[in-house]
């Protein structure tokens, strides 16, 4: 068996990055700053019923991000149990950024641009905020991919001492 199994690490990182990035969005933009809610452009939260209505959908959003984090922990645990997984910090951190960026970009394209169910910062310069959000996501994707690619040359297996190179590069 070749020790080039990075798939579990990559998918764990993407899932964890997606979930944690979603929490950053939900906690910061939905709750603390209150710039938008899940359906705030369809049903602006201008009265208590509308606020509670949006709160339900924010709850579903947070439940989904929680599920992504849980799946990520499961995949990371599964990777740790295997002996053939290359335990690469660059691959894992790159995957975290890749997941966060994918979330920002995909959610931004679907929810902000195509469906318009909410915008990052509604009002004046709404499009600029939305495009900035997409741009931030793209930067994370590019940076994450670069790190994942760089991590392809890492060869340390899980449990091997740091700095050791226990396998030939493949």
């Amino acid at each position: 068996m070749r020790a080039n199994s990075r798939g579990a690490i990559i998918s764990a990182g993407i899932l964890l990055g997606t979930g944690l990035g979603g929490f950053v969005d939900g906690i910061t933009l939905h709750q603390i700053l209150q710039w938008h809610n899940m359906l705030s452009s369809v049903r602006p939260p201008l009265d208590l019923v509308s606020m509670k209505y949006n709160m339900v959908w924010d709850g579903l959003f947070h439940a989904s991000t929680w599920l992504m984090v849980s799946l990520g922990v499961w995949r990371l645990w599964a990777a740790g149990l295997r002996g053939d997984v290359v335990w690469s910090t660059r691959t894992f951190v790159g995957s975290l950024f890749l997941g966060w960026g994918l979330f920002n970009f995909i959610e931004g394209v679907i929810d902000h641009q195509l469906l318009g169910i909410h915008h990052v910062h509604p009002g004046d310069h709404q499009l600029s905020w939305d495009l900035g959000f997409l741009g931030f996501g793209l930067l994370e994707i590019i940076g994450g991919l670069a790190l994942v690619r760089a991590g392809a040359s890492d060869v340390r297996l899980h449990g091997a001492p740091a700095g050791s190179s226990t396998l030939p590069r493949s």
């Binding site: 080039n4 798939g7 579990a8 997606t18 339900v56």
Partner: protein, 79 residues
Amino acid sequence: MTASTRAELSRSVTFLLPLMWVLARAFTAHACPSCATGEQARSEVWTDGVAANVGIALLPFVIIGAICVWAEARARPRH
């Protein structure tokens, strides 16, 4: 009723009325799961295109989940 008892009663009422008001407010807030506002909001969630909204909310996560399945399958070791 003596004067001192009336004074005591008056002080008790003065103390208890604000306390009861605070408790009533807290109880109302606690009861909001069944208050009219909450019931109306939840009812509108169910009658206002719930399936479409669930689909919209979950779509980005489904896409990313599919990407993960693809990434894991693609990087699976060859025996």
